[in-house]
Each structure stands twice: as C-alpha cells, then as structure tokens.
Symmetry: C2
Subunit: 459 residues, 2 copies
C-alpha cells in the first residue's frame, strides 16, 4: 500500500525532513533481516521521542498504514521484513540509556540501545545485564524485547523476559501505555509486560524499557572441553546440569562448527575432537574455583578428551569470538542457510543429535549445529545453494523433518528467535487451533486494524 503525498508530508513535519525517507536506496537498507528475505517498505522513519512515535502511529492508524518496528534487523525469522510494505519505524535514534540506578539495580533504556553498549555501561557501574545473544554487538534491546532473546548465559540467568520489569509502549491507535513496575516484584492486573515481550512487535511499539540488573559477578572462569563424539558431549551436559553448580553457560559446537572456527581458536584442539563444550561459571573468586574444579572433575570422568581453562580474559574472549563468529562464517560453506533454534529437553539432546545426523544424510546437505546445550537449545543451520532448486527443496524437507522430530521429542520449534515469517507454517505443529484463536483475539484487542507488523506469526 502506497503512502500518499500528504501523509508523507505530515511525517516530514513530525520528525523533520532528514528523518523520513522514501528513496529506493534507503528503502533497500530497511527491507531485509538476517534471514535474507526482503521486501521494500514504502517509507522509513526515524523518530527521536516517544511523542513522535505516538504521532506516527496515530497517523498510520488513521490511514490504515502497516507499521513495522525495526531495531538492527539482525532477527533470524523475518520479523522485521515489511512484507506488506508500509512504514518502517527504525529505533536507531532512540538509543539513549536514560538511567542506571545503582541502588535499585535497574536500567531504564530506549529501544534502540545496542545490547553490548548496555553491557558495557552497566558493567562500568559494577552491575550486570545477563541476556547476551550472539549478535549483542549489533542488535538492539528493543529487538531483544520483541523476540524475548536469550543467549549463552540464559542457562543460569534466564532470558530477556526475566529482566524486563516494565515497559512504555505505543499502541497501534497511538495511545501510550505503561506496563509493569520499576521494582523487583509486582502483580497488579494482568501481565501485559510479558505479553508484549516476545510478541515480535505485533502488539505495541515499545518506547522505553525498565530492566532488572544484577550485581556483576566478581569472577568468571571459562572452560573449553573437547569430546571425541557428540553423544558423549551431550550426555555430559545432562550430568553437568545435575551438579550442585549451575554453570552460566553450556555452549556446544559440533564437528562441522569446529572445522569452521578452528583457526579462530588461540589454542589448538586435539585432532580427534568432534565436539566442544564452552562452559562458564561465575561468582566470587572462591566459589568460582570450587565450581570450576567440580565441573573439570566431572567432565574428565564423563569422557572428555581435554579440559582447558582460559588462562586470561583474552583467551576467554577469543573462545567467545570464535563461537559468535559462527553464524556469519557459515556463508563460507553455502550461500544460503536456514537457521532454526529448536529446543528439546536436555535428556533428549543425544536423540536430537542422532536425528539431525539422519536428516543430514538423507538430504545430502550440510547441517551445522551449535548452541545453548544447557538449555537444550540447538541452532541447526541447514546449508544450501539458493540457485540450486533441488537443494532448496531438500532444505525445505529437512526443516519439516527437523521440526517434526523436535515436537516428537517434547520440544519447541523456537527457543529464542521467534516465529516471524519463517516458522509461520510450522506454528500449528506446536500450538493448537483454540490457543491460536485466543492469540489472534488478543492481537485484535491491541490492534483491531491489523496495522502493526502485519502478516507475522499467524498464517
């Protein structure tokens, strides 16, 4: 749907001529996300304040114009792709950390704040914001709220949902709402805060977020543990989780992942290594030593080839850089990937690994798996050549089989990436018609005109 000249002029008046565009080259930059799917919007607008967001929404409401909220466009399921055209509201200028309250362990931020900037700012005050998606260096906290982002540290600390105390947001009709609290607890009325968290920008456009912070752990120990097969590694994960210690991260990389990042690792891996666990424990110095020793002892008994503790923060950083480089490096293997973030019960990880192996063999495609093993959350990357029709078909089949296996093992089709466009067709595998009907009616409560990020989640 095209934006009329008068509506566009109105938008220029609202934010200034420099902060709204309909130039093709600009539109292209706001047409896609990390899935590679793309669709041109009709315009992109860059509001600076909540009041501007409210006025923009009101204008869109009156003109039945689709509005697509957008952080950094690093989403993995097409959530920010403007598939019906319309107006992209980019939050890049709303990027202020408004307050870090050191006495009450909260941060109040605008949605466009880059997650790693938040990490740096709160850590400088001796505080800690745990959620750390691999894209933290580029993704926004608004996007994290929209998707309920996780990351490696979710094993111990939970996901974004657990850290959002309260929100301010603009409804599709332009009304501003406040949800939740600024305190550690609060249960007045229905939990609109957690309803909006993870709603993929379809219920309200978040303009301000009150986050819970923790004291920064005094020490962190990072362990790299190698195994000669994935099954032993997967069984070790379950055992580690039973120790009286909860590691803050239990990441795993399969053989294909290791092959991709081996040059990034400062220390060499044993030649026969076919799986790597990256484990972290944190706390005060004494506790960290006790915990690291406990895990080291356990891993050795559980058949690890090698357990190595990072000697210094630099070595730990290198290890994480290798892990975080995985997603972009994947394009070395093929020009297209389908990245799925399935979750299975921890005890079923070995079964899931076996199923992935079978699916790989049957499809003839390379599947690279890594992810947050401590949560049972596996990022399965199905690699194919998008110019090759037969590979594309195989890839689609592989996804079908992957999701069927996940559900059969008692899992979920998305742990932290959301449904967006790419999982819409699979939502009914997990969510029944009565439940979807309730969700759609809730969408209609917030957005009776269906203008906010339309065409996502529900088919």
């Amino acid at each position: 749907m095209a934006i009329s000249e008068s509506v566009f002029r109105h938008m220029e008046k609202l934010v200034g001529r420099n902060f709204v565009t309909r130039n093709k080259e600009d539109l292209l930059c706001y047409s896609y996300d990390a899935t590679g799917q793309s669709c041109l919007p009709d315009a992109v607008i860059f509001p600076d304040t909540e009041a501007q967001v409210a006025q923009i929404m009101k204008l869109a409401w009156e003109n039945h114009l689709p509005v697509i909220p957008r952080g950094s466009g690093s989403g993995m399921t097409g959530g920010a792709v403007p598939i019906q055209g319309g107006l992209v509201v980019a939050t890049s200028r709303m990027n202020k950390i408004l307050d870090i309250d050191q006495e009450n362990f909260t941060a109040t931020v605008e949605p466009g704040v880059i997650v790693s900037h938040l990490h740096t700012a709160v850590e400088a005050c001796g505080l800690f914001y745990p959620p750390d998606p691999a894209s933290a260096a580029v993704c926004t906290i608004g996007g994290n709220v929209g998707e309920c982002a996780g990351g490696p540290r979710a094993v111990k600390y939970g996901v974004t949902r657990e850290y959002v105390l309260g929100l301010r947001a603009v409804l599709p009709c332009g009304d501003i709402i406040r949800t939740g609290v600024s305190t550690a607890k609060g249960v007045a009325g229905y939990d609109l805060t957690r309803l909006i968290v993870g709603s993929e920008g379809t219920l309200a456009l978040v303009t301000r977020i009150v986050l819970k912070l923790l004291p920064k752990p005094e020490c962190v120990a990072t362990l790299a543990v190698c195994f000669d097969d994935m099954y032993t590694a997967a069984r070790a994960v379950s055992g580690i989780m039973r120790l009286a210690v909860i590691p803050r991260c239990v990441e795993y990389l399969d053989a294909a992942s290791l092959e991709l990042v081996k040059d990034h690792l400062r220390f060499g891996l044993p030649r026969q290594a076919r799986a790597l666990l990256i484990l972290e424990v944190d706390g005060d110095a004494g506790a960290v030593k006790v915990q690291a020793d406990l895990i080291t002892g356990f891993c050795k008994k559980a058949g690890a080839l090698d357990v190595r503790m990072a000697k210094d923060p630099g070595e730990a950083t290198t290890l994480w850089e290798a892990r975080k480089a995985l997603s972009p490096i994947l394009y070395k293997i093929a020009n297209q990937k389908i990245n799925e973030d399935i979750v299975v019960p921890i005890s079923r990880i070995p079964d899931m690994v076996a199923r992935i192996e079978q699916i790989q063999q049957k499809s003839g495609l390379t599947i690279v798996s890594f992810g947050h093993a401590g949560d049972g959350n596996i990022h399965c990357n199905i690699m194919y050549d998008k110019q090759n029709a037969s590979q594309a078909t195989q890839a689609k089949k592989a996804v079908d089989q992957l999701f069927e296996a996940t559900i059969a093992l008692g899992g979920t089709i998305t742990g932290e990436h959301g449904v967006g466009l790419t999982k819409m067709a699979y939502l009914s595998l997990e969510i029944g018609p009565v439940e979807q009907d309730i969700m759609k009616k809730i969408k209609a409560v917030f957005d009776p005109r269906q203008i906010l990020n339309p065409g996502k989640i529900f088919s």
Copy 2:
C-alpha cells in the same frame, strides 16, 4: 444466583454424589479466605480429573453460573471469595505430583498439590523448587500460579512466574488449552502462560502445571542480624544487595514483629534490637562459607548489633518458624488485620519505613511490618478491632495513605498477593484507564460470559 435442581443433579452425575455439596455447613467452609471476608457459594464441587473440570465448566457456561477456583483459601486479597455466589471448584482432590523428571529438571503437577509437599518431593530427588510463600505448608501450587506467589527466596530465585514453563487449563467455555513448553526455553506465539500466571483465576482454570526445577543447593547458611533501628537495617539491605553475592533471602522484621515472636526464637536477641534481618546464602560448601563471611563482615561495618549464624538446621528452622508464625500470631494484638504487600525500590525502604511510622502515629493503630526486604516487598499489617467503627475508619484511611506513599515512592500496591477484592478500589492508583481497558478486553477474550471468578481485580 441459585443453582437449579437439574444442574445440581448433572454435577452429581459428573463427579459422584460424594463430591459435590450444597449443605450450609460445607458451603461455610468454602466461603472465605485469609482476609476474613466471606460470602456463601451455592455449591462446592471436587473434581478429580481435567475431563471433569472441563465438563463442569461447560455446564457452568451453558447456565451462566459463576465458577470460583479454590486451592486452600489462604489468599490475602479475597481472590477465592465467591462474592457472586455460584460454584466453588475446589482442587483438593487434584493433588498429584504426576512426574518429577530428574534429567530435565521439571515437575508436572496438578493444581491441588500443597507447596510444601512439592518441596519435600523434589528435594528428596536432589532437586529444588524455590518459591516458598510463608503459607507453603497449606497453600496449593494452583493458588501460587493464580497469584504469582513469591516468598523469601524470591530475592535470588524470582517468583512463581519464573518457574512455570507450561500449563494445561480449562477455558470458561469448557475447552482445554495447553500453553508454553516443557523445555527450558520457548517463544512460539504469545506468552499465554505468563498471562494466566497471576491472573487470579479469572482467565482459565489451571489443571496441570509444568514447573522448572533447579539442582538443590548443597548448603545453606542462615544468618540472624540485629540492628537497633529500622533505618540502619534498611540501609544495610541496600548495601548487602550490592555485594557480588546475591543472598537467597533478605527478610526483615520490625520491632513490633520481634516483640510478637521473641518467644519463638531459640537464641535471645540483644535487648536493644529493634529490627532483625534473616539472611540466607546457598550453594556449595565453599561458596557458602565465602558468601556468609562477606555478608557478616559487611553487616558489622553497617552497624549491626549482632550477627549470628544458625549453628545447625534446627536453629535455622526455628528462626523460619518464628518468621512464618508472624501472620497468624498477629491476631494476638487485634481481631482484624489488613495485610498489604507493597513493594518499593530497595533504596526507598528507609523512606517507606518512615512513612509507615507516620501513618501509624496519625491513625493511632498498631502497624506491624515484616517481609522480603531484598525485594523491597513489605508486608504491612494494619491492626484494628473490627467491632470498633472508628478504628475501622482509621484503618481504611491508613491503607489509602499507605498506597499513596507507595506509588509516590515508585512502588507497586501488590508484590505477590494480587488485587482480588481488597485492592480493587486502589488499582487505578497504579494502572491507567487505557491499560485497564486492554486487560478487561483480554478478560472478555477468555471469558466473554464473565463467569470465571467474577467481580475480582477490576471494579
């Protein structure tokens, strides 16, 4: 609204004649909760299975009959009081722990399970379910889900919301829904799970709960720390929370509370003690020692009169029994209490303590305060003689002033007890008309006939 003879006979057929009643003496037992408010239902039914619950709801739906879900009736805000009469659905027979999955750290339970039974059962497997409301010995997990219960350990471990992975529930129309997951993570579709948690039994009748468990901490250290005034204690709380350690509990008892329970404490308190903090740290033995030493050192510097560590589990239990006895013991002072569970930012606890003191002086009533200081969650008990009209008026005024002060300090009127009946008139202090309108529309999505726990939360 009376229940017709034919509907009553139908209910007898559904559950058996022994499990539905309309005898006055039975009705009386299901007419009240811990507020002392009461109203007779027309009948009480005791289903045994989810299928029975679904059939009961369908019958109520067809007959526009109010349905009031009820656990143990230990709620603090009138949530289970059948103010429009109707049918109480008591969950006491649906009290089975269906599964404790030791590999995946989950428990699957029916709503009528007593919380302390769950604690005992999972701890016998080396696992841990953190939420521990003071009423754990009597309250049900279904009630905890309804109110999003907290308790002392919420400081480190969070509230019920953080432990509910998935639900099965019956909608007012009788349809059965499944929400959430059985895994550590999951974000498919809107978060119906957390919408139902804390909805005070107004959206759906929960029939099965999948809970997240943790490994049981190896050791716990319990500290009793005395101060000669509440302000020093309140300031110490904020300081403790800044240590790199997160205590699992930071409870406080004011002078009036101490006076009430001093006979319950095995060890004597210094004569000049006017405030007591009960602190707990947990983890493996090494970590607990380090943490307890850190906190002890800090408290001494922060002006504590005395820091004592429980010598054995028995001593710790006595301390907790004293704390948990507080709510019932209060009736020693007066025949009526209004128990409010306000929350303020941690740094504002000293201000709130001062305001409570002022309100007490102005009202001439005794106000006893204790609660979860680490969360800023204060249970303020305004004591009065219900036969004394002037005291009743003063008590009502004191509540008004208490809530106004709470909101002015950036707090919330309910941290864990819910709104129910007693806070309905105050909800608008915290939640605006647009937000309440959304909540009411969500209620209508679930319950268009307004039959499930009607007349609660919203006025």
